[in-house]
Symmetry: C2
Subunit: 232 residues, 2 copies
């Protein structure tokens, strides 16, 4: 099963390669949008071909099997988020003062939220796609390989900045924070729904909830320690 690599630069600009690159991008973009909205099993390769306005066979040619296409879409942008997180962590570590818990949480959640509210709808689709796959054991091996190494670095930094607590509870609190972040990107409908806005279609925006999310996660990580009394 031949999967097209990013067309090799043979010094050729004869239109074939250019068209190939363009088709490949159309396929990956369409897959990104559809997987984000309907999930892996909710999308057919035929739908992707139609969305990309390319023939069915082009999806297979540029994307390989369905599962290979999915992983390619996920991997394509991973560095856009990870680079921002990594640089922010490096900057904080290079300072004289150690980073605070609030700074660390904001630095980890921020780049992903930025992606989720980007002007480019294609990047927004990627954020929703990541949210959609992060809840299932099925995709954990992929999530682990792509996102866990950097998450471990943040966890270590949080352990120094956060409350005294055993490592497993802290890891859980960090994962709960990520779950809240992903949920916010997946859907805001319930936040409005619980307020009685069911008939209204205006859900709160991600941007409006960013501060609430970060404060929630910081408070939660603090709460996972033993600093505050468990009131009764």
């Amino acid at each position: 099963m031949p999967i097209a690599e990013p067309a090799s630069d043979e010094g050729v600009t004869d239109g074939r390669l250019l068209r190939g690159q363009s088709t490949r991008k159309q396929v990956l973009d369409a897959a990104e949008r559809l997987f984000a909205e309907f999930g892996f099993d909710g999308v057919s390769i035929r739908q992707i071909a139609q969305e990309a306005t390319v023939p069915l066979a082009s999806v297979g040619f540029h994307g390989g099997t369905k599962i290979e296409l999915f992983k390619t879409v996920i991997e394509r942008r991973v560095n856009e988020v990870s680079a921002a997180r990594s640089e922010a962590l490096a900057r904080m570590k290079a300072r004289p003062q150690p980073p605070t818990l609030h700074e660390l949480v904001a630095a980890y959640l921020g780049p992903y939220l930025d992606c989720a509210v980007d002007d480019d709808p294609q990047r927004r689709a990627y954020a929703r796609l990541v949210a959609r796959m992060s809840d299932h054991d099925r995709w954990y091996p992929t999530v682990r390989d792509l996102y866990d190494p950097l998450a471990r670095e943040y966890l270590s930094a949080i352990a120094e900045a956060g409350p005294a607590v055993d490592r497993e509870r802290l890891s859980a609190a960090f994962v709960f924070s990520i779950a809240a972040m992903l949920h916010l990107v997946s859907t805001r409908r319930r936040i409005g729904g619980l307020l009685g806005n069911e008939n209204v279609d205006r859900d709160p925006s991600i941007e409006a909830m960013r501060g609430a999310l970060i404060d929630f996660c910081v408070g939660g990580i603090r709460g996972a320690g033993f600093e505050q009394p468990n009131d009764r």
Copy 2:
């Protein structure tokens, strides 16, 4: 499309009705297990029939269309969780002392976590199924109808017991708490993975993480208010 109702009591115990009830239960149980593990789009009616060891047509007869079957499975147990939550809230309200935030969070999360660790694997499957569908706008109308009315009552009680904060932030904090709860039931792999236990298959149990989850949510809801400084 005829969907079998819970067999009417015509004073008959001639074996047909008994067998029908048994077949119906087998179909719903098999659907519950498979939907929980693979999601709505990841399961075929043929798989359900095979898992239930009934002929293909029996699934349609007892469950209707695929989507009707899914909703039936969801609705079947909703009261098992909601009744426990509702009774706990009523007990707290009947007391002289008002409930604390910690009590309210524990009372809301507890019955669902109990379901997720029940001795009956069928109830555990239900808990995972609920976790799996709660992240997607697609199923929000169903979630809203079944779970939001009681969640609103809890939100009101939390508003009285929790920090002074605008209602939308508080609703967000409660929804984040629910997201963390659902994530814990969906998967614990990442909690262990971030600790470097990747090669180990032993993830922390839900029961072991129950306290960490509740403390995280209580701290998070407090943090969503303005009680604690945002350190810098």
